[in-house]
Amino acid sequence: MRLACVALLLCLAHGLAACGSAPPEQSDADTRRERLVDLNDRAQRAVGRGNLRRAATLYREALRIAESFEDFHSIGVNVLNLAAVHQALGEPDVAHRALERVLASPARFEGPLVAQAAGLKASLSLQARELSAAEDWLNRAEDGCRPPACRIRTALLVLRAQLALERGAAGEARSQTARALAASRAENNREEEANALRVDGRAAAAQGGHAEAVALLNQALAIDKQLALPYKIGLDLMALAETELMRGEQQAARDYAQRALDVSRAAGNRQQQQAAARILERVR
């Protein structure tokens, strides 16, 4: 008891001294880490503002710093962010190159990071209509995604639905989107809800349910407009143009395609501009 009291008093005294002392000087590693976090924050804010070029520059700088002291967690995070930004900018080659840093030596990185990198590869392959590669990457992402650490399951469901749709299996795509919709609403993930609605709308159109497809795509468009996501708005408008084209509404299709072209021009996404221009050519 006495010993305990003495120890307590000593602890109090030393605690007082410690609190009164100046905080320890920051080490170089701490300074670099702070810079890294600051760059990452600024890049994320740039993404929020829609300034993707600026975001890419900041993520690249953060990646350079992370690589300078071989912090594999930071390298992985910045590689994935950089790849996502380049994908949204319509620069898939740069995104693929960035992802190679994680996927070439996955043992160095945490499982969820590798799973997300594989998911991004699947998404990029889907955009390039390389369906077998997309399936391989998607399988790898699903294998590596183990909850609760992995939080990309809903996005993977949407990608799986897209893959089925691209393969012409509209029915399978719709059942996948139903799961994705339920999951996205359960976790209040509005981005994925819109993605699932878009894929569902396209699948409905492929099955001949044009009116239902237009309703679903308009729901997706409304969400994407609320979230102010230009790339997704462009996708919704192009899907609506395609649907109107399928049911022979040339004028409506032209209007949607023109709106998609305008949005993609304003967002500076060349790939989407070309896609919208191709639809416009078909309507003329």
């Binding site: 001294a17 609190c19 994320q44 949407v158 897209q162 790339y231």
Partner: protein, 334 residues
């Protein structure tokens, strides 16, 4: 008996242990307090320097006193003298006294545009040796950004007013200039008509005297060429003036708008500068800076540092649609 002596011995032991415990505790506490005081500079030798200012605005007790950017002391007291002047006492670390000239001046400066005020020693002549304890130095106040801005606005405002008057004059439909341009247009048209008439007359006259005086004929043909040239020049002048006349209202209205914008902006700046906003911003800036420093320091100090998670980068959430959103993968910020 034996039990009694054993009990007395145990009580003595307990008393001794309690005293030792108390002494150890007190010694530890005193050591901690002394260490803390040493850290805070309580044992540093200081000299006192004074200066007299017209106002205490921008100064407060405890404010930093700097020498070439280094903190060398603090304001110890600010008092009002009988003649309504302000006496400011500075406590300066004695080790820096040899670096401060006896005829140095004290200046109130701001560390940044939005930053806290500090007092700064300015170099003296260097011929009167170092400052002594209880010396009185001269004080000067640095012209502030606000007053410089106010002076600039005061210079700009009358110019803006003049230009506004000029543009109003130029754009008024019945202004002398507009009337003059219209007159020139009318004159140009009349001259063109007159020159045609003159040319016809010359042609007729030339035919009549063709067989008579040859010198007159050549003079008349020269006059004809001159008149044709004049006619062409008048045509050009007429066209140019018409263009000026057409463009003038647009130019003046744009100029007027621009000047209106300048005036509104300058008034807004003046409002900000002369109002309380500057003080509020300054205070807020200092408060934010201080708070940030305190929080930052606390985060790094034991034992708080053990409970604070080191900052980590955010991973953007994978987007099934191939886009990118500023939502972290974990659904929230760190």
């Amino acid at each position: 008996m034996k039990l009694g002596s054993e009990m007395r011995k145990r009580v003595r032991d307990i008393t001794l242990a309690s005293r030792m415990f108390l002494v150890l505790g007190v010694v530890s506490l005193v050591a901690a307090v002394v260490l803390l005081a040493h850290h805070q500079g309580a044992f540093t030798k200081r000299i006192h320097i004074y200066f007299v200012a017209e106002t205490a605005n921008g100064m407060n007790k405890g404010m930093a006193v700097k020498l070439v950017g280094f903190k060398v002391g603090a304001v110890e007291g600010i008092t009002i003298e009988n003649d309504l002047r302000v006496m400011v006492a500075l406590a300066v670390d004695a080790e820096y006294a040899p670096m401060i000239d006896a005829d140095a001046t004290v200046r109130l400066v701001r560390e940044a545009i939005i930053g806290s005020n500090v007092l700064e020693f300015r170099r003296g002549s260097g011929t009167r040796g170092p400052v002594q304890d209880k010396a009185i130095l001269l004080y000067e106040r640095e012209p502030s950004v606000e007053s410089a801005m106010m002076a600039l606005l005061d210079q700009v405002s009358p110019i803006v007013g003049d230009i506004r008057q000029i543009t109003a004059y130029l754009s008024a439909p019945d202004s002398d200039l507009r009337q003059a341009i219209r007159s020139v247009n009318r004159t140009a048209g009349a001259l063109a008509e007159a020159s045609d008439e003159v040319r016809k007359l010359i042609v007729t006259a030339a035919g009549l005297i063709e067989k008579g005086e040859t010198r007159v004929s050549s003079v008349l043909s020269s006059a004809d060429r001159l008149l044709q040239g004049a006619n062409a020049s008048l045509g050009v002048l007429d066209g140019s003036l018409r263009k000026v006349d057409a463009a003038l209202p647009g130019i003046t209205s744009r100029m007027d708008q621009t000047l209106e914008n300048i005036r509104a902006a300058s008034e807004a700046v003046r409002g900000m500068v002369s109002g309380e906003l500057t003080g509020v911003v300054g205070e807020a800036g200092a408060l934010v800076s201080d708070t940030s420093e305190v929080v930052h320091g606390a985060k790094r100090s034991w034992p708080v540092s053990n409970f604070v998670q080191p900052p980590r980068e955010s991973l953007l959430r994978l987007d099934g649609g191939g886009g990118v959103t500023a939502v972290p993968a974990d659904g929230g910020r760190r």
